[in-house]
Assembly symmetry: C2
Homo-oligomer: 285 residues x 2
């Protein structure tokens, strides 16, 4: 009985928050011009870029990727449970030639863009949800921002807000949400996250021998999928976060009505703990 009430309540909540826009299209193809194929020594990773949220960062990153800028660079700062960061040698000519970018850490809410609400009263924000496959949060003042969930791709920077250029990081641990709004997130891993998790850690615990920099994981290549010969492409579809099926999955995930849950957890959802499914359409021949 309690269970049923929760589900009904949640449907009402969802309905009031714009998921009326939900469609029956459960899967969505990725745009090859906004998809990156990252080849590591131990596996391949597919990244979806987010030009709708961070246009200038995506533009610069894509341009760098197009000219093979990252090929041969290494993940030089990899802290277990936190981030895996890569880029050219600090202060090198290659590093300095890239122009700095104005931060794109947040944006104004466009009421016409479908938004799938997840949680009011999240620890770090008044509300969380999904838009076009990306986890995000908003305040009560018309501002929204992408959230630092595992698999998030963001640009590193110095102390200045507007100092990011080419160095980037993947989140590999518990969501460091305190970085929300003050960093520019511009993509997310949609395939091969286990290979990001397997990148050589460079940070060592006190008392341990330092990791030899020659052991740091190198990027074999990073290409826009549109520049990868068709036979070598990995083609992925991702769950549409605007679909009726996804909304239904959120409701079920919150209600936890399987008998395994002999005692109900609180009916809340951490936006970074909701997996967005991918499915493989085609591996390279």
């Amino acid at each position: 009985m309690f269970k049923t009430l929760l589900v009904l309540f949640y449907f009402a909540f969802i309905s009031a928050c714009g998921a009326d826009n939900a469609t029956d299209q459960q899967w969505r193809a990725l745009d090859v011009n906004n998809t990156v194929l990252l080849t590591l020594p131990h596996g391949k990773v597919v990244i979806e870029l987010a030009p709708q949220f961070s246009p200038k960062h995506v533009e610069q990153f894509s341009a760098l990727v197009k000219k093979s800028f990252y090929d041969g660079t290494t993940f030089y700062r990899v802290i277990d449970g936190f981030v895996a960061q890569a880029g050219p040698k600090d202060g090198s000519k290659k590093d300095k030639l890239v122009p700095v970018l104005a931060i794109e850490g947040e944006f104004s809410i466009d009421k016409n863009t479908p938004f799938t609400a997840v949680q009011k009263g999240d620890l770090f924000a008044p509300q969380t949800g999904f838009q076009a496959g990306f986890a995000l949060a908003n305040d009560n003042n018309n501002r929204a921002w992408l959230t630092h969930c595992p698999g998030t791709l963001a640009m590193a920077r110095g102390n200045d807000a507007d100092s990011a250029s080419s160095h980037f990081y993947f989140v590999i641990g518990q969501a460091p949400r305190y970085l929300d709004r003050i960093m520019t997130i511009f993509g997310r891993v949609v395939y091969g996250m286990e290979h990001i998790q397997a990148i050589q850690r460079t940070s060592v615990i006190e008392g341990e021998y330092a990791v030899d920099s020659r052991k740091h994981t190198a990027i074999i290549s990073m290409k826009l999928m549109s520049d990868v010969p068709k036979a070598e492409r990995i083609i992925i579809e991702v769950e549409s976060t605007e679909s009726a099926a996804f909304t239904e999955r959120l409701v079920k995930r919150r209600a936890r009505d399987h008998e395994f849950f002999y005692k109900k957890p609180p009916p809340v959802l951490d936006v970074c703990q909701v997996p967005i499914r991918s499915r493989l359409v085609k591996l390279p021949n």
Copy 2:
């Protein structure tokens, strides 16, 4: 000015919550009788057990470890971003011989046990904090429970609350806090978490070839540290969560007063996003 106020506020809060018990002992040695050395094909992992919270589970797990029960078993359910689960072949004689355990998912708060408060109004619990190196939460009704953070070790079970026996899992992704209170957590990784992250995933995405079970990661050995010859021991010390230094670190982590934070994040902490440091005292000769 705002920064200073926050810090002062937090000191007051801490002080009101029992961290008066804080000591100057920043590091604490692990008890070799409550420490496990897990050897995987790709690296060694050290686990601290939690008999003070889950005595029956630790007792049974330790007894199994002592008789090399897990040696040669595999991680047969490894889902990226969620858990890495191991145990004997389901339904095998070895599996069935292990007695089931009554769940130890929560316990009554002992007011005399030092508790370092972290956050009131956490999304999943009225309050979170640390006790003896373990992240935990409590309600307003004298009940407390360990929380499912990355690196947590817990016993798997069937639908019955009291059906866990020998199968265990490590949390390898964003904290699945909805499992709090309904599973028995009985340890945590204190060294080598990157090797847990590198365990072969067994769950594949739709459209991908299934992972051959012969590729599943096997446990080479699992031993109580007290049973490991001294020359082969990995000796770790962990940060005392009851120390003044740890409390101070929490305050700083919440205040984020480095100039990098040109705009302040909300002054809140996710208990699963606070790293508890380890330091290496001795590697095997």
